[in-house]
């Protein structure tokens, strides 16, 4: 092989290692390896000692037969995901997008910024605010209104209706992403379509129905899948606001796995529970990937020399 070609090849290999190497290492260590570990772990009996005693199927057996809390967690998860998704992440997000694009530009942008505040604040701060708002004694913001404006005794949302609290808390966060995506989609509808509809005699509602919504079909489906996955898997706000309680009343499936592992010390069981989520996650990720437009991302490069 002539010198030039050999040097090229060597540089090519170095380039590959130099540029892509670090990324590959990080991804392999923190994505691929954990998945494998999780699979293996699910079949062990690792407990508080963090030592592997034996390989066993009893985690799965426990899941299916003996774990009563699991059923509860599944039920809570179902209610939580469906309600938050249906009411906030998709519907309310759509509403916000429609309304903020129907009022003058600057006002719409202002209100969108307000609704981004929950998502943009640190989770601890956001959770703290919620705790203050639903504080059961008279100091809670909600109770101040309830007691002084409506003249009713203070209500304890946190203990009596914890599910409502976490649905609202996650809903505010969830609505903001959908709002952004839908707004962007609405803005990309050619203006002339709106003009034509108005000249044709359509009122605002008719325009929404015939011009806006048809253009949002794809973003809505994408958001629904994406947000379902997100709600299924994340538990940060629930952990911060109710801790999963009282007792296990607001413990969704993902939080249940976490608590079993880190609170009860049953790491193997937690891993087994997580495994189900991992599988769902992979399937959903593949589904989302199929929905996205791949061609633009895969444009071939134009220089072949190193």
């Amino acid at each position: 092989m002539p010198d030039f070609a050999r040097a090229q090849l060597r540089r090519q290999r170095i380039n590959f290692a130099l540029f892509l190497g670090p990324a590959l290492v990080l991804l392999a260590v923190f994505f691929v390896a954990p998945v494998i570990i999780d699979v293996v772990l699910a079949f062990t009996d690792m407990g508080r000692t963090l030592a592997v005693g034996k390989f066993t199927l009893e985690n799965f057996e426990r899941m299916v037969t003996r774990d009563t809390r699991l059923l509860g967690a599944l039920g809570i998860t179902f209610i939580f995901v469906v309600t938050t998704l249906g009411v906030f992440n998709v519907t309310f997000a759509l509403l916000l997008a429609l309304v903020t694009t129907a009022v003058p530009q600057r006002l719409g942008a202002f209100f969108r910024a307000v609704w981004l505040l929950p998502r943009m604040s640190p989770s601890v701060v956001y959770a703290l605010l919620w705790l203050w708002v639903v504080d059961p004694n008279e100091r809670g913001l909600l109770n101040q209104i309830v007691v002084h404006v409506f003249d009713m005794p203070p209500i304890d949302l946190r203990n009596n209706h914890p599910l409502l609290v976490i649905i609202l808390a996650n809903g505010f966060i969830g609505a903001s992403l959908g709002m952004l995506i839908f707004t962007s989609a609405i803005r990309s509808i050619p203006e002339h379509l709106f003009h034509a509809a108005r000249v044709d005699g359509a009122g605002s509602l008719a325009i929404v129905r015939h011009v806006t919504l048809p253009a949002l079909r794809w973003p809505i489906s994408y958001m629904t899948i994406h947000q379902s996955l997100s709600l299924l898997v994340s538990f940060e706000y629930i952990l911060l606001i109710t801790g999963g309680g009282p007792f296990y009343d607001t413990t969704v499936f993902s939080l249940y796995a976490y608590r079993r592992a880190f609170e009860s010390g049953e790491y193997a069981y937690g891993a087994a529970l997580s495994l189900i989520l991992v599988v769902i996650g992979v399937v959903a990720a593949l589904a989302l990937w199929r929905l996205m437009d791949m061609k633009r991302l895969l444009q071939p490069p134009r220089i072949e020399v190193h």
Binding site: V103, F111, P122, A261
Partner: protein, 361 residues
């Protein structure tokens, strides 16, 4: 054509009453817009109010009480001012008049606020910044868990975590993004698709095995461990973002660098990288803020209370002190939020440039 007269337009019925139509137009437009605005205000109040409350408490509350009269007074002053201004804004078209009204209202609100609540403002709630023992002082007994460190320790830990994580991400994502964008290699398509799947895949599900992995490597309970995890989890996203920026650099620049005698590596360092400065800044700011606000990984992996970061600090202060002194907790929260808020505000134009495959982030 026989059809001509059946379609012949003729005068559509009688001549329409243009006056009535004009009136109706104005009416529907006004009520429509007002209704929409009212809706937006109503749903936004539950968000604005708590944040405002937090700021107010941070500057006015005293130990033992959480007087919200300051809050309501402030609201009572501000809300009418805003209402008046919006009415003026909607009915008057002249910009100068609107500006004048705005300034007058601002002045009135300002003086009213100062007069009514000015004396209640104090900075005592921020004493955690200069006193490390404020928790013991409040509770007059030992706190649950270990001694509370100074807030500055947590602050610098958070800073270290955020900065180092950002540096790692910038380096790795730029290198990888550039390579994917500019080089042909076997498995490029597969890699891109894999990256996309990883991006959509929820990394939270892996928290348990990652915990164990860190334990086995020996990085559990270290800032370094958290830093690596954070960098890796977000990497797919940032690689795509950087790729997007590199895609936007014209090929000609690189080609001319290479005909000028540079190797690809040199072309990258000397010519291409400067072109994506905007992208680098955007990614840096975004990554920094993300790490600054991180809670769950930090909480799970920093198990002993020796390594503190701001998010944990705030959490434990709230846990210990909240029943007794809202003010301090609010003050800590305000202090915590300030850096990310400032970054958002000042770097906004960079952040909006981020796209992933054409979909703006």
């Amino acid at each position: 054509m026989a059809t001509e007269h059946s379609i012949a337009v003729g005068t559509p019925a009688a001549r329409p009453d243009w006056q009535a139509l004009a009136r109706r137009t104005w009416r529907t437009r006004f009520t429509g817009q007002s209704a929409l605005l009212a809706f937006l205000v109503v749903v936004s109040v539950p968000i604005i109010l708590p944040y405002f409350w937090m700021v107010v408490i941070a500057f006015t509350a005293r130990t033992g009480g959480v007087g919200s009269d300051v809050l309501w007074t402030a609201c009572a002053v501000i809300v009418p001012a805003v209402l008046v201004y919006s009415l003026v804004h909607m009915s008057v078209a002249s910009r100068r008049l609107r500006l004048a009204t705005g300034l007058i209202l601002l002045a009135i609100t300002g003086t009213l606020l100062v007069a009514l609540v000015g004396e209640r403002l104090h900075l005592n709630n921020f004493r955690f910044l200069w006193r490390a023992d404020f928790v013991e002082e409040l509770r007059s007994k030992a706190t649950s868990g270990a001694q509370f460190p100074s807030v500055w320790r947590a602050f610098f830990n958070s800073l270290a975590l955020a900065v180092s994580q950002t540096v790692i991400i910038l380096t790795v994502a730029s290198l990888a993004g550039y390579y994917i964008s500019r080089f042909a290699f076997r498995g490029r398509n597969a890699f891109l698709q894999g990256l996309l799947v990883l991006h959509a895949f929820p990394a939270m599900t892996l928290i348990i095995p990652i915990f164990l992995m860190l334990y086995w490597i020996g990085l559990l309970d270290t800032i370094i461990g958290v830093m690596l995890v954070l960098a890796a989890i977000e990497l797919p996203f940032y690689v795509f973002v950087m790729k997007g920026f590199f895609d936007g650099v014209p090929w000609d620049i690189e080609m001319s660098a290479m005909t000028d005698g540079a190797t690809r590596r040199q072309a990258f360092r000397l010519v291409v990288l400067p072109q994506v400065r905007v992208g680098l800044i955007a990614v840096a700011v975004f990554a920094f803020i993300r790490a600054w606000e991180e809670y769950i990984f930090v909480r799970t992996f920093l198990i002993e209370n020796t390594n503190w970061v701001m998010s944990l600090y705030l959490f434990w202060v709230a846990d210990d002190v909240m029943g007794v002194d809202y003010g301090i907790v609010a003050a800590v929260a305000v202090f915590y939020v300030l850096p990310s808020l400032l970054l958002y505000v000042f770097c906004q134009k960079y952040l909006t440039q981020m796209t992933i495959g054409g979909i703006k982030g």
